[in-house]
C-alpha cells in the first residue's frame, strides 16, 4: 500500500468538509435554487476537483443538451447519414470539435496513424508515398474555413418542415485547419501541362472519392492534420483530410489516402447519383462545387426562444460565403419589407463564418425576422421563392435561401416560409 500523498489528503479534507456542510443549516440553504445572494452557493464553500481529475476536459454537465442531433427519417442507416452542429449554442465562429457536424458514407474508420499512408500518383513526374510524420514535415499553413454539406437545408426546399435551427442549418462547421497546401505536394510530385484533374480518395469503407479541377487544387486546397488546436477528430477525417475551402463538404475528402492526378474527371458516383442537381426540366447540374453565400439568425431561433418578455435582446447570427468574404448582413424584423445593417464582428475571413449582431428592443409583438448576406463578389442571398424559380420545386442541394423565423408574442420561435 502506498502512503497517501499530499493531494489525497486534500481530497479527504474536502470530502470531510462537504459532509460537515451537508449536516449544517448552511448546507440546506445551498441546496435550494442557486443564484441567491447574499448566501454563498454550495460550490463556494468547498474545494473543486483538481488538475488530475480530467486530463482531457469536457463541457459542463449542465451543457448536456448541446450535442449533435440528426433527422432519423432521412437515411436508412446511421453509418451513411449526417448529424448537425448545434449552431444555437455556438457563441462565435469556431465550431467545437466535439459537435462539428458529421457526414459518413460508410461510418468512421479507425485509422492507425502508424499505418496511414498518403499516395500522390497518376499523371505526376515523381509519385510519392508519405507517412504521417513525413506529411507533417512539409511547409504548413493554418487557416480558418467553414465546411458545409450542400444538403444543408435540403428538408426545407419544399416547405418549412423542421422546427429547428440545428436541423435546418447545422450541416456546417467552421474550424482552424492546419496542414500542407495541396499545391506544395503537387509541386513536389511534379505536374505535366495536361495534369488537369485530381481525384481524392478516402480510406473509409466507401473509398469515397471526388474529382477536383487542378485550378482549385493549386489555389487553396490543403491536406489538414490539425483542427482547432488538436489532431483532426476521427469524425472529421483523422489523421488527415482534404480541405477545399468554400466548396461543398463532400469534396473535402476525409481519412485521405490518395491524390490521383489525371487529364479528365472520373465522374464518380458521388458526382452523379449524389451531389448533382436534377432540375425541373429533367436535366441535371453536374459540378456545383461552390457553396453560395448564406446567413442565419442563431438567436432567437426555435431552440432559443425569447423567454424574458419584451425588452432588449441582441439578435445574433452567422454568415459565410464559399466565394470569399462576407461584406454585409442586413436584418429584417418584418418579413423582408425593411432591412437594417447588422454589425459584423472581426475577424472577417475568406470562406469563413462571420458573426453578426443587431440590438433589438422587442415590443412583444409577432415579428418575422430574417438575415440576408451580401458577399464580396456582390452576390446577395436569395429568398426561397427566388431559389425555386431556377432550382425547381423540390431539389436536394444548395439551399442557401433567406431563413425566416416567426417570433410569437409568447416569445416562442417557429420556422416559417413566406410567399
Amino acid at each position: 500500500m502506498t502512503k497517501p500523498n499530499r493531494r489525497d489528503m486534500f481530497r479527504l479534507g474536502a470530502a470531510a468538509g462537504a459532509a460537515l456542510i451537508a449536516a449544517s443549516g448552511r448546507g440546506a440553504r445551498a441546496a435550494s435554487p442557486p443564484g441567491a445572494p447574499p448566501a454563498d452557493n454550495a460550490w463556494s464553500n468547498s474545494l473543486g476537483h483538481g488538475v488530475d481529475s480530467k486530463p482531457y476536459g469536457s463541457p459542463s454537465p449542465f451543457e448536456k443538451n448541446v450535442v449533435r442531433r440528426y433527422v432519423p427519417w432521412l437515411s436508412p442507416t446511421r453509418d451513411a447519414d449526417a448529424s448537425m452542429t448545434p449552431l444555437q449554442d455556438q457563441p462565435g465562429i469556431i465550431t467545437s470539435n466535439g459537435v462539428f457536424f458529421e457526414r459518413y458514407h460508410a461510418g468512421v474508420p479507425q485509422v492507425d496513424p502508424k499505418a496511414f499512408r498518403l499516395m500522390i500518383s497518376g499523371r505526376v513526374k515523381k509519385p510519392l508515398l508519405l507517412t504521417l510524420d513525413q506529411l507533417m514535415r512539409y511547409p504548413s499553413v493554418s487557416r480558418i474555413h467553414f465546411i458545409e454539406c450542400p444538403a444543408n437545408g435540403a428538408t426545407e426546399w419544399p416547405a418549412a418542415q423542421l422546427n429547428s435551427l440545428q436541423l435546418t442549418h447545422g450541416m456546417i462547421g467552421c474550424a482552424e485547419w492546419t496542414g500542407v497546401l495541396l499545391s506544395t505536394l503537387l509541386d513536389e510530385a511534379g505536374l505535366y501541362p495536361d495534369s488537369r484533374w485530381v481525384t481524392a480518395t478516402g480510406s473509409d469503407g466507401a473509398h469515397m472519392n471526388r474529382s477536383l479541377p487542378m485550378m482549385k487544387c493549386l489555389d487553396d486546397c490543403m491536406i489538414a492534420w490539425g483542427q482547432n488546436g488538436e489532431a483532426v477528430r476521427p469524425e472529421q477525417g483523422y489523421p488527415a483530410r482534404l480541405v477545399v475551402p468554400g466548396w461543398q463538404g463532400n469534396v473535402n475528402v476525409k481519412w485521405l489516402r490518395q491524390i490521383q492526378v489525371g487529364r479528365e474527371p472520373w465522374i464518380t458516383r458521388e458526382e452523379t447519383s449524389e451531389y448533382s442537381e436534377l432540375l425541373g426540366d429533367g436535366t441535371s447540374l453536374g459540378f456545383t462545387w461552390v457553396m453560395d453565400a448564406k446567413s442565419v439568425i442563431t438567436f432567437p431561433c426555435p431552440e432559443k426562444p425569447l423567454t424574458q418578455g419584451p425588452g432588449f435582446y441582441e439578435i445574433r447570427g452567422l454568415a459565410w460565403s464559399g466565394r470569399g468574404k462576407v461584406k454585409y448582413v442586413d436584418i429584417s424584423l418584418d418579413g423582408g419589407v425593411n432591412f437594417q445593417r447588422a454589425r459584423l464582428d472581426n475577424p472577417i475571413l475568406d470562406k469563413c463564418m462571420t458573426r453578426f449582431t443587431l440590438p433589438w428592443w422587442w415590443d412583444g409583438k409577432v415579428a418575422l425576422i430574417q438575415s440576408r448576406v451580401t458577399d464580396e463578389t456582390g452576390y446577395v442571398q436569395p429568398t426561397i421563392v427566388q431559389k425555386h424559380k431556377f432550382w425547381g420545386a423540390d431539389p436536394v442541394y444548395e439551399n442557401n435561401s433567406i431563413q425566416t423565423w416567426q417570433v410569437l408574442a409568447s416569445g416562442a420561435v417557429n420556422n416559417v416560409q413566406l410567399s
Binding site: N65, V67, R69, Y70, V71, T77, A80, A106, S121, R123, K125, P127, L130, R137, Y138, A159, N163, S164, L167, S183, T184, L186, D187, E188, L191, P193, R196, W197, G205, N209, P213, M214, Q258, R263, E264, P265, W266, R269, T272, S273, L278, S284, L285, T288, D292, E303, D330, D334, V337, N338, F339, R372, V380, P382, Q406, N414, V416, Q417, L418, S419
Partner: protein
C-alpha cells in the same frame, strides 16, 4: 523552365492508365462538348498556374516512391474512358446469383429498393416529371461509374471485397434489369465504357451560377400585404425532440 522538363518527361510509362491519346480514348463515350468543358474546368480556361511551380519535383526529398504494385492496389478510380478497368468479365446470369446473396436485402429482389435503401432500377423517362425517380438506369450517365462504385463501396457491409469478375457480373445484371443491355451481354473492360446510358447527355457539367439575382434592398422592398406565411414547420410534426438525449424517433415514442 518546367516546360522543358515536362517536354522531356511527356510520355507516360507504358501501361499507365493515362497512356495513349485521351481524345481517342473518349471517342464515342464523352461528347466533344463535355470533354471541352471538363478540360476548361481543369485548367481554368487555360489560366492554370502549374507551369509556375514553387519548387521542382522532389525539392524537399521527403517520403518514398511507391512501387507499381502499391500504386495499382490503391488506384481504383475508373473514368468514363474505362482506363484502369481490370481483366475479367461477367454476365447478367452470373450477376443474378451474386445479387441475390449480396445485394437484394437492401436494394430489393428486382432493384426496386428496400428499407429506404436506394432503388437501382426504373424511372427512365420520369426525370422531367413531377415524381422523378433517380436510379442507375434513369439517372447515372456512365456505366463505368456503376462498375467503379460496386467495386469501391459495395456490398455496403463488406466494401471492396468482390473480385473483378463478380463486379462485372453485377454490372451486367443491374444494367440488364434496367433494360440497358441484353441478357447475353458480357461486361468487360472494353464493353462497359461503350454502354450508352439513357441519361448520358442530360448532365450539364458547367456551373451556371449565379442564377438568382437578389438585390440588397433596405426600405419598402416588398408590399407588407404580400408577406404571407406559406408553411410553418411547427405544424408538420417532423421534428425530433431538440432537448435531452438524442431523439431517434423510434415508433411508439
Amino acid at each position: 523552365m518546367l516546360g522543358a522538363q515536362a517536354g522531356a518527361a511527356q510520355t507516360p510509362p507504358p501501361g499507365s492508365p493515362h497512356d495513349g491519346n485521351a481524345a481517342k480514348n473518349y471517342a464515342g463515350i464523352v461528347s466533344k462538348k463535355n470533354l471541352q468543358i471538363w478540360r476548361a474546368e481543369g485548367d481554368g480556361d487555360g489560366t492554370l498556374a502549374h507551369d509556375k511551380p514553387a519548387t521542382k519535383p522532389g525539392y524537399y526529398g521527403i517520403g518514398a516512391v511507391p512501387s507499381a504494385a502499391q500504386i495499382a492496389g490503391w488506384t481504383i478510380a475508373v473514368p468514363p474512358s474505362g482506363a484502369g478497368l481490370p481483366a475479367g468479365s461477367g454476365t447478367a446470369a452470373a450477376g443474378a446469383t451474386i445479387y441475390a446473396s449480396h445485394c437484394a436485402m437492401c436494394h430489393g429482389g428486382f432493384g426496386e429498393g428496400a428499407h429506404n435503401y436506394p432503388a437501382l432500377v426504373g424511372g427512365v423517362g420520369s426525370l422531367g416529371g413531377s415524381s422523378p425517380q433517380k436510379t442507375v438506369g434513369s439517372y447515372w450517365p456512365y456505366a463505368t461509374t456503376v462498375w467503379d462504385y460496386i467495386n469501391r463501396a459495395m456490398p455496403f457491409y463488406a466494401p471492396h471485397t468482390l473480385k473483378p469478375d463478380e463486379v462485372y457480373a453485377l454490372t451486367a445484371y443491374i444494367l440488364n434489369m434496367n433494360g440497358v443491355t441484353r441478357s447475353d451481354w458480357v461486361a468487360d473492360a472494353k464493353s462497359v465504357p461503350l454502354v450508352k446510358m439513357p441519361n448520358r447527355n442530360a448532365f450539364n457539367w458547367k456551373d451556371p451560377r449565379p442564377v438568382t439575382h437578389n438585390i440588397a434592398c433596405m426600405k419598402n422592398c416588398v408590399s407588407p400585404s404580400s408577406v404571407k406565411i406559406t408553411s410553418n414547420a411547427v405544424t408538420m410534426n417532423l421534428t425530433p425532440r431538440m432537448t435531452g438525449p438524442v431523439d431517434h424517433m423510434k415508433a411508439g415514442q
